[in-house]
């Protein structure tokens, strides 16, 4: 019992650390494609967490990733913070729904990537009170299919190798 709890916390801590590291790494090292598109490497960790630990832990990992990640990169409560929070909020919501429906990992990955970009576009549109920003959403949705397949593929490789702690 105690060992299970300890293992659970260790996993949670490691996954959070990986999510934060990937979040910062991606924004610092990898330049975005076409100036705006990112792969969403940290989404891989969210997908793995929801599969091996559960929904509640995934929310914890995602919140920590955005809050601590933005604190470390110095954009906490700035516009980029709210934009990533909007993306993470919608993608977490999608992950919860897909988990309930027992969807496949690849489908979950693609849908959460789409939700992530939709959330970001929504925040930007509200931020500037300019509905024309929403015109970029169709492009994002199409690119999300590719990035979702990529993140889904990587998370599947990981999930197949780790025994889930989920009850």
């Amino acid at each position: 019992m105690n060992i299970t709890r300890t293992r659970h916390f260790t996993y949670l801590a490691m996954l959070s650390a990986m999510a934060i590291a990937l979040h910062i790494l991606e924004s610092a090292v990898l330049p975005p494609f076409f100036g705006v598109v990112r792969i969403g490497l940290a989404n891989i960790i969210a997908l793995i967490t929801v599969r091996i630990l559960g929904v509640r832990e995934m929310i914890a990992v995602n919140i920590m990733r955005v809050v601590i990640g933005s604190l470390l990169s110095g954009v906490f409560l700035g516009s980029t913070f709210w934009i990533s929070l909007g993306g993470v909020f919608l993608s977490s919501l999608t992950l919860i729904v897909c988990d309930r429906l027992h969807s496949s990992l690849l489908f979950t990955a693609i849908l959460s990537a789409m939700a992530h970009s939709a959330g970001q576009v929504l925040i930007v549109t509200m931020f500037y009170m300019e509905p024309r920003f929403a015109a970029i959403l169709p492009y994002f949705l199409l690119i999300s299919v590719a990035t979702g397949i990529f993140t889904g593929f990587i998370s599947k490789l990981a999930v197949d190798r780790v025994r889930p702690l989920k009850k």
Binding site: S104, L106, F107, L111, M114, A135, P138, Y139, L142, V145
Partner: protein, 116 residues
């Protein structure tokens, strides 16, 4: 991935592609490349493309002015001034060289840019 899931993704992707296509058709039909400027005193208050129907309101030295843009043409719809010359100048298009001028309000409306 299940068949149902593939269909859902395909539908979303198709909708996004259709939206992009529609935006492109809409854009190439619409934007004319003509820019009309509305200048008050020495600064430009509005710049608009006459391809987009809209009304613009501004306040000059004397009072309010409403500019209406419709079907690639524009005119002064209402103005608060003693002589209403600008209102009587009527509709102007991209080929009209003369700017609509309202001296009491210190406002001029002219074609700023036009494709060759």
């Amino acid at each position: 991935m299940k068949k149902k899931e593939i269909i859902i993704i395909a539908v979303i992707a198709a909708a996004a592609a259709a939206a992009i296509l529609l935006m492109h058709i809409f854009r190439s039909d619409k934007a004319s490349g003509v820019t009309v400027a509305v200048q008050y005193q020495n600064r430009i208050v509005y710049e608009f493309d006459p391809a987009f129907d809209q009304e613009y309101e501004l306040t000059g030295d004397y009072g309010k002015m409403v500019i209406e843009v419709k079907d690639m043409k524009w005119h002064v719809k209402e103005v608060e001034c003693p002589n209403h010359i600008c209102e009587h100048m009527g509709w102007m298009g991209p080929d009209d060289l003369m700017p609509i001028t309202c001296l009491p309000n210190n406002i001029i409306i002219y074609v700023e840019e036009k494709p060759e």
